[in-house]
Symmetry: C2
Subunit: 182 residues, 2 copies
Amino acid sequence: MSGGGIVWLTGLSGAGKSTLATALAARLGAHRPVEVLDGDEVRRYVSAGLGFSREDRDTNVQRIAYVARLLAKHGVLVLVAAISPYADTRAAVQALSADAGHPFVEIFVDAPLATVTARDVKGLYARARAHPEDMPHFTGVSDPYEPPAAPAVTVHTDREPLAASAQRIVDALVARGLVAPG
Amino acid sequence: MSGGGIVWLTGLSGAGKSTLATALAARLGAHRPVEVLDGDEVRRYVSAGLGFSREDRDTNVQRIAYVARLLAKHGVLVLVAAISPYADTRAAVQALSADAGHPFVEIFVDAPLATVTARDVKGLYARARAHPEDMPHFTGVSDPYEPPAAPAVTVHTDREPLAASAQRIVDALVARGLVAPG
């Protein structure tokens, strides 16, 4: 059995992080313990009341990472799907994961802003543009997204089928001993 | 291997919840996956900024319970040590645990207020009495503690050795199939 670890999917809202995490969990869950921590969902449970300022986002990301470490400690491969827009915050949670002895695999779910704005699955981009006063910290519109400098894998959800993206991530996890080959 | 579950130790500050949880983890950890979620510690990670009003306490307890359910889902026996003073909040997290299919074992760590005030390991009772304006919601002094009506086990840490209390809890866990006998 493979040990625990954290797979951290970062990218713009609507880039396809949750879809990828769910697809990976469906594919890997039969072979090893897996848990998806979806940023929106975890926020409801552990960060209700927090907003989207830099400080509040960082707090939320740190809380997700705390839960992820607890699960990884017990052998779970945790698939985190969270915008997590700030590079140094991601570096900080990666360092805490390393300190705890858990592999941390950063995945950049890259879709151009034009694509996610056109998709706008949740209607948030339209709202952020139409009513910036309601959403003063919307990543990619009124708040920065800092792409990973050296992600383990970059997937281009605008021009690569989901299965192909998932396969490249699985390959990276196999290479790191987090998923058994074959 | 036994499945996951939640052992919820409730009681006044200083009653001995964390000590008991640590002792149980040391005893059971060699035989099955175990994790201690200490209320004070979890609060630092997922509830920094929350205070001790009823609403904030409830939020903190619900967050601990969310983390506990995630761990129990992956086969961990979670030992929660949290004052959790309100009976209906404990009932609510017990119901959520049952909905998720996890056994929930309520343990009342009972020590008289006079005893915990005399011990006052953290110096909090003295402070709560001397400066009530600093600690307007201190359980047992300026905020209620509602004892469990039907706990699985009640331990009297003022008149029972730690090992004996731990043994009675282990017996209850064995009876519920959460710990292998012997």
